[in-house]
Symmetry: C2
Subunit: 228 residues, 2 copies
Amino acid sequence: FIELENVQKIYGAGQAQVAALRDVTLSISTGEFVSIMGPSGSGKSTLLNLVSALDVPTSGSIRIDSVDIGTLSDDELTLFRRNKIGLVFQFFNLLPTLDAFANVLLPIQLSRRANQEDKDRTKEILREVGLEKRIHHKTTQLSGGEMQRVAIARALVQNPKLLLADEPTGNLDTKTGRDILQLLRSTCDRRGMTVVMVTHDRQAANWGHRLIQLQDGAILGTETIDPQ
Amino acid sequence: FIELENVQKIYGAGQAQVAALRDVTLSISTGEFVSIMGPSGSGKSTLLNLVSALDVPTSGSIRIDSVDIGTLSDDELTLFRRNKIGLVFQFFNLLPTLDAFANVLLPIQLSRRANQEDKDRTKEILREVGLEKRIHHKTTQLSGGEMQRVAIARALVQNPKLLLADEPTGNLDTKTGRDILQLLRSTCDRRGMTVVMVTHDRQAANWGHRLIQLQDGAILGTETIDPQ
Ligand SMILES: Nc1ncnc2c1ncn2[C@@H]1O[C@H](COP(=O)(O)OP(=O)(O)OP(=O)(O)O)[C@@H](O)[C@H]1O
Ligand SMILES: Nc1ncnc2c1ncn2[C@@H]1O[C@H](COP(=O)(O)OP(=O)(O)OP(=O)(O)O)[C@@H](O)[C@H]1O
Ligand SMILES: [Mg+2]
Ligand SMILES: [Mg+2]
């Protein structure tokens, strides 16, 4: 489903050049849940930015669902991302003036007029992440972990084929984090959604099928995770 | 050093009222390192906002270094905060157009003209948090964990009497997180700095002298942490 071939990402030039990713080759199959771990600054968020086509590699190619995303126009990329991919950013990117409900409904409203079914789905997914009592709180009236769960609900609301999540439990206590991981894994198993999750927490990584270790922009190794 | 008496914080009114803190009484002595844990939404960040006087309690009193902070004017609060307290926010609050060096130097420049010694100190503290190679990266050119470490360096640069840190290792891998906790604890022991640290990670909490558990805005219990 995802194929990276010799992907490099180099920021800056000359003296201040940083090789965030060096010659990464990787393949992830449909319905697989892959966890990515690695030290701070090792290239994890950069990898997700390239796979979601929010940034472009310096060299190498990325194919998703058999399409080389480097060949798509901006408009095609926007539609591709909107129809196939759910994104949970490391720092959420919620709209501060909207409430939780409006933030989650937003991806739907960007594609078409939301109907009653969409609104029911939005309330349902907010309930699933434990925020039934915070539906009409503005972003500024939510705690850190509550904002993170709004971001997760927004990424799932349109039943994406691919979920890219950057430290989705980083601001959650162990119990709340476990509930979220359970939701991601059961959605993956039930609907065949492919998941790529970056995390610093080994317990969280163990909810995946496979673990990839990244260091200084290169893949150190990959291992199968025994069912927990 | 810190005394909270019957502190309440209630947001909103009527139907949507939320009691973020309910009748909290707490005392923390000089040079103590206190860890605070609790589920997402239990009132941890609210507690830090009140102790740092960035928000005011609905009722109850807070004394720091024998001063009732509720009686200070805005100007007195600004000076009090700048001279005594170092703050690590849950989402950093860095200035995006400045580089790491300028973000860390900022608290000094707000009080007086920075001299060579200040600049050397700024470079030194960035080295201590492992960012000697990122000193002149702008905030937008840093990873999540690197931004977090800039925020920690900024909070420590003026050798505060009190450090308030909201999930300071939430975006760090285990090893980098341990280095930061070591730095906080050794600064606490060496200089008698009082530390109040909110965390979701029990391993991180264990670097403190005492653990306070918060739930639904109330203190569930407090326990001494055996030296690790
Ligand atoms: N301005 C506000 N208006 C209404 N409710 C608020 C406001 N700010 C915070 N809250 C609510 O107060 C509660 C406590 O928030 P707080 O940020 O202190 O939680 P927290 O313990 O830091 O959680 P987390 O671990 O998720 O960061 C939350 O349930 C939140 O929804
Ligand atoms: N625009 C940029 N210009 C220069 N360097 C950059 C830029 N963006 C990121 N970097 C560098 O690239 C490296 C990889 O960044 P990335 O955000 O992928 O790390 P990460 O693995 O997600 O780290 P963390 O766990 O701290 O979030 C970092 O060392 C960072 O300093
Ligand atoms: Mg990152
Ligand atoms: Mg918080």
